[in-house]
């Protein structure tokens, strides 16, 4: 099993310095940085993952996360990845994604369809660490592109992905309200 270790605070500070002028003013916190480990999910993590998701989205989806674990919680499968970030023995974030072949006519590429960090653990590079880890997995799986999709009013997460270098892709999502129209 691949485990990536980093000290959240140190990584965040280095990144901030590299990222721009505001980062140069970032002061290192006096308390020791918690070491964050990124590893494959385990069944025992699900309770905390459900809690993080419920805290962020306001909806508890226990059955959904257990179903995702059955499908994506297979350690060592680079095509399907479900990773968690752990600090001081607690799960502080997770990311989930998979390689999808020829979806929408696109050559195989990595899709990130879930990422979240416990609100009190944010601004320490945990999300960036999770995204870097899943991207490393996608590279091992042989794909060269990663995509995601999210609500356009979700400015916080949109900003996060943008800050990691993501740009608008070549696809436009479309939808239709079936209750009030559409082909019959």
């Amino acid at each position: 099993m691949c485990v990536i270790l980093f000290a959240g605070r140190v990584v965040a500070t280095r990144r901030a310095r590299r990222e721009g002028p505001d980062g140069a003013r970032t002061q290192a916190a006096p308390e020791p940085a918690p070491v964050v480990a990124i590893r494959a999910v385990r069944r025992g993590d699900l309770r905390e993952i459900v809690a993080i998701d419920a805290a962020v989205t306001g909806i508890e989806k226990r059955a959904y996360w257990h179903a995702l674990f059955r499908r994506y919680g297979v350690a060592g499968d680079a095509d399907r990845q479900f990773l968690v970030a752990e600090a001081d023995g607690a799960v502080v974030g997770f990311v989930i994604g998979e390689v999808r072949d020829w979806e929408f006519g696109s050559p195989p590429c990595g899709w990130v369809f879930g990422i979240d960090v416990r609100p009190e653990a944010r601004q320490r590079g945990v999300g960036a660490g999770l995204l870097a880890a899943i991207c490393a997995g996608f590279r091992r799986a042989g794909v060269t592109k990663v995509r995601t999709m999210l609500a356009r009013d979700n400015t916080l997460i949109l900003s996060f992905f943008r800050s990691q270098g993501m740009m608008a892709g070549p696809f436009i999502p479309l939808e239709m309200d079936l209750a009030h129209g559409g082909p019959r």
Binding site: E19, P21, D22, T155, R162, S163
Partner: protein, 161 residues
């Protein structure tokens, strides 16, 4: 969303200042770089200074320098300082907007505006600076590769001679 000239100037200026927050830059330097009159730019900079995004530095070599938070300030924050983005009231509506065709067209135009707003709102100045850095790196790599190919071609040509 079509940005007005002042808005574009404000975005150019803010990014120039944020590139090196410690450096004070004269308005004339930015005006020359972007081909606008210093008088026109001065109005934009004074608006940015009023909003606390830049601060003016007096004295010899004076000018402006960045005073905002590049990791928090988004492109939309700057755009809002110069554009009226609220829904037009009844009097300012375009002719025909209330007709069935006008309403259908407005729905499509609103869709475009919402996407533009989401894009501008999600891009901070720090993200823009990284994009700039990435583009410069890519351009440098392309130039290096092109130079290498040209030198190799010249060597091959010399061998043939």
């Amino acid at each position: 969303m079509k940005l007005q000239k002042n808005t574009r100037l404000a975005l150019y200026s803010v990014l120039e200042f944020a590139l090196d927050p410690a450096r004070q830059i004269a308005a004339a330097e930015i005006a020359a770089k972007y081909g606008v009159s210093p008088h026109h730019l001065a109005k934009v900079l004074s608006e940015l200074a009023r909003a606390g995004v830049v601060e003016s530095v007096r004295g010899v070599g004076g000018g402006y320098r960045f005073a905002g938070n590049a990791r928090r300030l988004t492109l939309m924050d700057v755009i809002r300082m110069f554009e009226e983005l609220s829904e037009p009231d009844g009097e300012r509506r375009e002719p025909g907007e209330r007709t069935p065709v006008g309403r259908a067209l407005s729905a499509v135009l609103s869709e475009i505006d919402e996407i533009a707003t989401a894009t501008f709102s999600s891009i901070t100045l720090a993200t823009m600076l990284r994009l700039l850095e990435r583009q410069q790196r890519q351009a440098a790599n392309a130039a290096r590769l092109s130079g290498r190919a040209e030198r190799a071609a010249a060597r091959r040509a010399a061998r043939r001679d």
